[in-house]
Symmetry: C2
Subunit: 338 residues, 2 copies
């Protein structure tokens, strides 16, 4: 670990996020903030979409992976990295490792979409598959791999360097909101373990305090929303069974939940059908290919009239479209809903 | 017409393109230049994709439409605008007119995709449909509308203000190529009447002379490629019958062909299947929704090994992905090819 690396047991600071942004410069895409005149008409307000589906490897995860790997000292990094992932983190870590010339082993659920398994493999990663629905302990599997091979663990969300990398999405949102003339808005973020959500919230706290983050999850997998309501960590009853495979984490992170509790508005849960329908809208109105888990925030923007909470329902809403790695059959099924 | 407006009978200058760019600032999206590590692996070189499908209304056409309407004097503009369009220009003109609060009438082929007809209508334009396959004279129809209503004509390509607007894509490519470290490349551009192709070529001539444009057309509709080879304007034998509906123009423009003859490399023709397959690659590797006519340049980049013409086959190639307005059924059919 570098001397100036973030404390491994604390969330990153705004300075850590800026530091990650400088390591990512020239490596990550500054993804565009898009809007559609017809989508705005339909929603009755501006809906500004941060298209992280256009990031390298097709999701925001490359940011956290690169931030993590470049925060390791050279000797540690050279032994390679183990990542736990439902697919997008896998591809982010695989690409970051490839660009740095080190080995990556991915602990991945066997039911991850083919597009994601093949994406990680094509980028040179080795896969270690586990049984998600059967409750196999992915953390134990990853820990034993790390111990056996002397490799570093790149957790998908509960790691300050990873959160700092995802937080760079928030720094860009702050800039792009200013460019778009938006000073005050709810920022809806697709939420699994909370790495992206907490990172964006931390960035906006410092860089654009008029923008407030709200986590969006699939119905039945709204552990973060329930944890925020309860004031204590809650787990999901099921570990699989939504089309939103990218964001089906069992429980919020140890580092991420306190950040979300301090900075985020109430969580929102949307149905699988709403996510699929939002994919169809993103295709027709924004020409973006989104995956279901990457479309839940847009789904909330399009279906929930109650976002403003006492604010003006005509206030703009911002949405992070977090990923676009989806099998063609699922995508075509979503388009058939138009 | 403003005093400093381009000569209506001559192609625009680089200064005209810079002027259009300043009128478009804050109105058009600066679309990203994207690349995929896996797509590069498959192509054996860098393939950099200028994603104009992410432009407002889903294609580059908004640029030319806004440039044209803002080049009219206030009294002319107030009477509204007539546009001839296979669909994308229609939406660009419709939005520009809506933003400026003036009337737009679109002369559109009756066989244009539903997505495009409805897009223009939803943006407030009136439609005047004609029979493309039957050879009905769209120019005469538009001229009679203009005469009857005192409206201005916004030609889809053969107008200096329109070409200047499309040329702003080239100014951005020049900047983004520098940012990406690319000094020398072939720039493949999806080509119908040549407004985008000639505009980009004019911009690059001044702003990035190491980048050379090559027009890409559908097989059977390669009037520009044949005109460049013959040294004189050639017409297409058919007026319909390719899935690449956006770029099926009968012949090159009077203003655009001389520019292309002076500045562009040889034209390239690709099959409908290659265009559909490129759409599938753009979906899987770049998470972009492209229409067939907007994917022909990417198709050429992925299927033609002979682009370099004596240069290094490993030289980077740049591609303009010009539009993304496609009916879901066509898109799903393309995905089934993966």
């Amino acid at each position: 670990m570098r001397d100036d690396a973030p404390d491994a047991c604390a969330a990153p600071t705004l300075a850590d996020i800026h530091d990650a942004a400088s390591r990512l410069r020239g490596r990550a895409v500054r993804t565009p903030l898009l809007e559609s005149d017809l989508l705005n008409d339909a929603a009755g307000r501006r809906v500004l979409v941060k298209a992280e589906s256009l990031q390298r490897t097709g999701s925001f995860k490359f940011r956290g992976a690169w931030s993590k790997l470049t925060s390791l000292d050279a000797a540690t990094r050279a032994r390679g990295v183990v990542a736990i992932s439902s697919g997008n983190h896998a591809q982010g870590v695989a690409l970051a490792a490839r660009l740095l010339g080190v080995r990556a082993v991915i602990v991945m659920p066997a039911d991850a979409p083919a597009a994601k398994r093949e994406g990680a493999r094509a980028l040179g990663a080795e896969l270690a598959l586990y049984d998600r629905a059967g409750g196999e302990d992915r953390d134990a599997l990853a820990a034993s791999l790390c111990a056996r091979e002397g490799m570093a663990l790149a957790h998908p969300f509960d790691d300050p360097a990873v959160i700092a990398g995802q937080g760079t999405v928030g720094l860009e949102i702050a800039e792009q909101a200013r460019e778009a003339g938006v000073a005050r808005a709810e920022v809806l973020v697709c939420c699994g373990g909370g790495g992206l959500t907490s990172g964006v919230a931390l960035a906006l706290e410092g860089a654009a305090p008029g923008l407030r983050v709200r986590p969006v999850e699939p119905e039945g997998f709204d552990d973060v929303a329930r944890s925020l309501r309860a004031g204590a960590p809650q787990r999901n009853a099921r570990s699989a069974g939504s089309v939103c495979d990218a964001i089906l984490t069992p429980a919020p992170g140890r580092l991420t939940l306190p950040v979300m509790a301090r900075l985020c508005g109430p969580g929102i849960a949307v149905s699988d059908d709403a996510a699929l329908s939002a994919m169809a809208q993103a295709f027709a109105r924004l020409r973006l290919a989104l995956e279901p888990g990457g479309a839940v925030a847009l789904a909330a923007a399009l279906t929930r009239a109650d976002l403003a909470e006492g604010g003006d329902p005509a206030d703009p809403v911002m949405v992070v479209a977090s990923g676009g790695n989806v099998d063609p059959s699922v995508f075509s099924a979503a388009l058939a809903l138009v």
